[in-house]
């Protein structure tokens, strides 16, 4: 694998006795668009806040754009572009004012590029932020995160609350402005169908742990569902990598994490009949990882 733009090792975080991150390990390859998935409350925002040095973990280490956020948060924030979940900016500032103001915090701020983005995003420079629509607000947040030309960009559920057209436009900007420039984009979302076309890597966070991290294509090719025509209970003990196994209407549906010729043969042997195989969309793959029973409950439901 190429160098990591973000690496997290064995990160633990708790609010009092409530564990949020329980040993997160993750490497985000340089230049990738990395989709960070998880249900609400899985710990996505907490992970991101630790990466930016906004909160200190109980244990574990991370490195973002070559800096340790716990030792030098300022260096990390200078190097990284960040858009928070539902970012609230100062309502009373005009767009031109917030550009100037934000620019004064970054040594690498590029005024010409900021002006270029302003036109591209169709933002009225003289308007107050209070008067902007949700879509304009998100575009402004992205502009402010990009105008210092970061090589690593962290977006925390940036499309939350946008309409479908604005969402697509936002993702298009991520592709053309960031991927085309070779930047690394780490972005969390709970809308899987919108992540799939843009992400080349996907990590699934569940209950404070990474349950899977893989290139998107690999994930889609590896995770397969098999339909077995069999009514009684089966022994799936010999089938490796079962994510989910349920029986419904006289059929077994078995989802495998990595389907190979061997596992196909093994399944056919267990089923004792014809096995139907299908690919899954990202929603279904996510579901299998997050709420799959891992083949433990083999009694019919």
């Amino acid at each position: 694998m190429t160098k990591a733009a973000i690496s997290i090792s064995n990160l633990h975080f708790a609010y009092g006795r409530h564990k949020v991150l329980d040993g997160v390990n993750l490497d985000v390859p340089e230049g990738s668009i990395f989709g960070f998935l998880g249900r609400n409350g899985a710990g996505k925002t907490t992970t991101i806040q630790v990466l930016l040095g906004l909160m200190d973990p109980q244990s574990g280490r991370c490195e973002v754009a070559g800096h340790d956020p716990q030792a030098d948060a300022i260096a990390v924030r200078r190097a990284v572009g960040y858009v928070a979940e539902d970012q609230r900016m100062y309502d009373w500032m005009r767009i031109e004012q917030i550009l100037q103001w934000t620019g004064s915090f970054y040594p690498t701020w590029d005024r010409a590029y900021a002006g270029q983005l302003l036109r591209r995003f169709d933002l009225p420079a003289r308007s107050k932020i209070a008067t902007l629509s949700k879509g304009q607000n998100t575009r402004l947040a992205l502009l402010l995160a990009l105008a210092h030309r970061p090589k690593t960009v962290i977006l925390d559920d940036p499309t939350l609350g946008l309409d479908p057209i604005a969402r697509k436009e936002f993702l298009r900007s991520v592709i053309t402005l960031l991927q085309a420039e070779g930047a690394t984009v780490f972005f969390s979302s709970h809308l899987l169908y919108e992540i799939e076309p843009v992400a080349d890597w996907i990590a699934i966070l569940d209950q404070g742990r990474i349950v899977k991290a893989a290139p998107t294509d690999e994930l889609r090719d590896a995770v397969r569902r098999f339909i077995l025509p069999r009514r009684d209970a089966m022994d799936l003990g010999r089938i490796p990598s079962v994510l989910d196994a349920v029986q419904r209407d006289g059929q077994w549906s078995v989802t495998l994490e990595s389907a190979t010729q061997d596992t196909r043969a093994a399944l056919t042997a267990v089923a004792g009949g014809d096995v139907q195989e299908m690919g899954l969309n990202l929603d279904e793959i996510f579901e299998a990882y997050v709420i799959g029973n891992r083949g433990r409950e083999v009694s019919p439901c």
Binding site: I33, K168, L171, R172, I175, T176, Q179, A180, Y193, E194, E196, P197, V198, A199, D200, T216, D217, R220, D221, M278, G279, L280, N281, D283, E284
Partner: protein, 135 residues
Amino acid sequence: MFIRIEPSSSSPIYRQIMDQIRYQIAAGVLKPGDKVPSIRQLAGQLAVNQNTVLKVYNELCRERVLEVDRGNGTVVMQGNLTIPIDERRKAVAALLREAVVQAIHLEVPPEQVHALLEKEYQTILAEKNRSSHHD
């Protein structure tokens, strides 16, 4: 070039793009020598990862559907297909298999399937002829 992506489909995005480019060539919308959009352009237009488009183009170049014309970008392959006929048959058979499974499942008899296949074939062929007639 118009391509539509269905995000909730269980078919991966790159397969969807590949199939639609193939279809447009088969239907004559894209003719030999026509330029296809650059990777950046198509990725931006579809809001799809550039590597996905790269993968599609590489795959289609490997299959000799597209070729890289130096100085002119990626174009639809000129001239005859160089894939052996066996390979081509195999590729079509794999797709027909899915259709047959569906036909058996929906209890459509073989002769009707034949008729449907014939009809589809003629429709696309006619479309192709019509669009080449327009030039």
